[in-house]
């Protein structure tokens, strides 16, 4: 018991439920509608919360926008106990206009769960973390394969998992089992390397003249991150967190910790640098810069000061156990591609350079999700489901983002309509797209009625689809909805 207590790291996790939860494992499935497209906006909006927490303890680690963590032991001693610390932090964040939950426990994993327990979070006394964890279902581990397998073997709670001998868990379930066993027993996921390596693994770049724009700094961050990863890999290490330090020409130094876990690509590190710079600049221009004269620490905005130095410091080294490339699958963009994309993003804005991700759906516009370059996204509607009623191949080569207004008339000039029994009033004879001249319809097919989401009135849709070929050889996907004709796509 004593050895466990000595090894445990007391962690305070602050969670703001207003930010969407990407893994959705807090039970509110409705809120996981994040398509990842606004990572920067979310990070920027979270910056004030981080600044408030930073006044209690400067080493704030951002797990993701909406959740941050600090080591609790030191500040708890200063502020008069852990309960007092949690209360003060939560109060300060609430005064800043945010709702939050604060949890304290041994280790980051348990503290994260403690923050989710109860309306304002929970304080788990030192040494009682295994008992606290014992009641949770194994589903909270966020290890999809194990979470499916363990209940089938009769291991349904973390307590049951913790009762297994650790070596057995690791040999039966592989590295994931070892990790799960450590988490269930209230330990850190991977043992830290106790002695810091002799070599300094941090990387830095100076800017002379100072960089006024974020763009060159983000470029440099990509190259620095590559360099840092190379150095780490050469030593066989991965880092749990990466610290981004920025020095300004007026002598201030700003730093943030980002969760890394050896999983971030160089591009993802550069993204976090961009979020961070955006956040600081946004806050300074937002008029909250009255603490800007405070030297050092994380409580000051960047303002318009030029940046003289960017430093990336790998924090908390662990043994590298292999890296997974979840964001891009096999298609990792080369440096040249990433650089060109980031440069265009710097010209046009983050959301103007997008990656197409195929999604499911019935209309062609629903079948492609556009994700800003650098963000991760999982389509809400997976493409590999049947989607009965979708238009079969070949797909149209032009899909209008917002459908074009059109008029479809029969031989006598009357608009073509469709009855409730999907009967066409008369064969379509003329098509006029977007107010253009009427073109004769030489072939047509339909109507294909679509009734979607009738259980959800705001999103319910009743449509009849047609394919129309006009005299000039072009083919259109037309839809009749609420008595109006729209062109969704054009073939060929």
């Amino acid at each position: 018991m004593t050895s466990r207590a000595a090894a445990a790291r007391r962690v305070l996790v602050l969670r703001c439920p207003d930010w969407p939860d990407p893994d959705g494992s807090d039970g509110s499935d409705g809120s996981n509608g994040s398509d990842g497209s606004d990572g920067s906006a979310a990070a920027r909006a979270f910056e004030p919360v981080v600044a408030i927490v930073g006044e209690f303890c400067p080493q704030v680690e951002i797990l993701r926008p909406g959740v941050c963590a600090v080591a609790a032991r030191g500040p708890a001693r200063y502020f008069g106990g852990e309960a007092e610390l949690a209360r003060k932090v939560a109060e300060a964040v609430c005064l800043g206009g945010f709702t939050c939950q604060a949890g304290i426990a041994d280790g980051l994993f348990a503290a994260g769960l403690a923050a989710r327990s109860g309306p304002t979070g929970l304080l788990v006394p030192p040494g009682e973390t295994p008992e606290f964890l014992a009641g949770f279902p194994v589903g909270v581990l966020d290890l999809p394969e194990l979470c499916e397998l363990l209940p089938r073997l009769g291991i349904e709670t973390l307590g049951q998992l913790a009762a297994l001998p650790p070596a057995e868990a690791a040999s039966r379930f592989g590295p994931a089992g070892g990790l799960a066993s450590r988490l269930a027993r209230g330990l850190d996921p991977r043992p830290l390397i106790p002695r810091a390596p002799a070599a300094d693994l941090s990387v830095q770049q100076e800017f002379d003249p100072p960089a006024d724009q974020s763009e060159p700094v983000i470029f440099a961050a990509k190259a620095l991150a590559d360099q840092m990863h190379d150095r780490l890999a050469a030593g066989g290490y991965a880092c749990v967190r990466v610290q981004v330090q920025v020095c300004c020409e007026d002598g201030r130094e700003l730093s943030r910790l980002w969760r890394h876990d050896g999983l971030l690509s160089a591009l993802a590190v550069a993204e976090r640098v961009r979020w961070q710079l955006d956040g600081w600049r946004g806050r300074a221009s937002g008029g909250q810069g009255d603490d800007a004269d405070e030297p050092g620490g994380s409580g000051s905005g960047l303002g318009t000061a030029g940046i003289t130095l960017l430093r990336l410091v790998p924090d908390q080294l662990v043994r590298a156990t292999g890296r997974q490339l979840a964001l891009w699958g096999d298609s990792v963009p080369s440096d040249r591609v990433a650089r060109a994309a980031i440069r265009v993003q710097a010209m046009l804005g983050h959301a103007c350079v997008t990656r197409p991700v195929l999604a499911g759906g019935r209309s062609p516009a629903e079948q492609v999700l556009l994700v800003p370059f650098g963000d991760a996204a999982v389509p809400l509607r997976p493409a590999d489901r049947p989607w009965p009623g979708q238009i079969p191949a070949p797909a149209p080569a032009t899909v209008f983002g917002s459908p074009l207004a059109a008029s479809v008339t029969d031989g006598s000039g009357q608009p073509v309509s469709v009855s409730g029994r999907a009967q066409v009033s008369a064969p379509p004879a003329w098509l006029s797209a977007d107010g253009g001249p009427a073109r004769a319809v030489t072939a047509w097919a339909g109507p294909w009625p679509v009734t979607e989401r009738w259980w959800d009135p705001p999103h319910a849709r009743r449509q009849a689809r047609f394919q129309l070929v006009t005299e000039d050889g072009s083919a259109w996907l037309a839809v009749l909805q609420d008595g109006r004709w729209l062109l969704e796509a054009s073939y060929g």
Binding site: G329, S331, R339
Partner: protein, 229 residues
């Protein structure tokens, strides 16, 4: 064992972007398009036009992207990425810049620096000086600029001259395939106009060669299209 290793090696990306910066070499195109392009592929550093925006522009880039090249599509907010995927273009290696804005030449020049192929629909007809700048950028970076629209200095011009849909009738069937005649003309000595019939697209969305007299092949259960055209 030995063959297994050989297979693994041949399945690896054929080349890396940085290996081919000299502007030499060809990017592969779909077999059906080979006869239409000088050298049977997209010459790095060249400009190719494809008429108005359509499947032909996507088809030109499809094989190279499948081969590991990266493609950017600029100025086409309505690009049908499912059609592109059906034609063989892996969406994982495609980036879209839907609205390049008033500074589009600078955006396109930046894209040419990083991407092997840039599909561009210019928001406006660029003046000759600007065209030459972008042509120079393509040459310098060894990329291919595929323009949906007019581009007087293009090395190759492809154009759909005739097209006929099959599978759809007067109130029955559905669009199954389009048989299209693509004419190619080029710049330079010895370039004779060429043309070929293609399924653009075929019934599964792929782009393949169509015979001279294959009309009705994909008409399915319904009567051939009565396209008076």
């Amino acid at each position: 064992m030995g063959t297994g290793v050989a297979q693994v090696i041949s399945l690896a990306p054929a080349r890396h972007r940085d290996d081919v910066l000299t502007g030499e070499g060809l990017l592969p195109v779909l077999p059906a398009l080979r006869a239409l392009l000088p050298g049977g592929g997209l010459q790095r550093g060249s400009v190719v036009t494809s008429g108005d925006w359509g499947l032909l522009a996507l088809a030109l880039a499809a094989e190279a992207v499948a081969d590991g090249a990266w493609c950017a599509i600029a100025g086409v907010p309505a690009a049908g990425m499912r059609a592109a995927a059906e034609a063989g273009m892996d969406p994982d290696r495609v980036l879209l810049v839907a609205e390049p804005g008033p500074g589009w030449p600078q955006v396109v020049a930046s894209l040419l620096d990083g991407f092997d192929i840039v599909l561009l629909r210019p928001p406006e007809q660029p003046p000759p000086q600007l065209r030459r700048k972008l042509e120079a950028a393509a040459r310098r970076y060894g990329s291919v600029l595929v323009v949906a629209g007019e581009w007087p200095g293009a090395q190759s011009r492809l154009l759909v001259t005739e097209a006929e849909w099959t599978g759809i009738g007067a109130g029955h069937g559905r669009l199954r395939a389009r048989r299209a005649r693509v004419a190619a003309s080029g710049r330079g000595a010895g370039e004779r106009p060429r043309s070929a019939w293609l399924w653009l697209p075929g019934p599964d969305g792929t782009v393949t060669a169509a015979g001279e007299a294959a009309s009705g092949m994909y008409s399915g259960e319904s009567a051939p299209l009565a396209s008076s055209g």
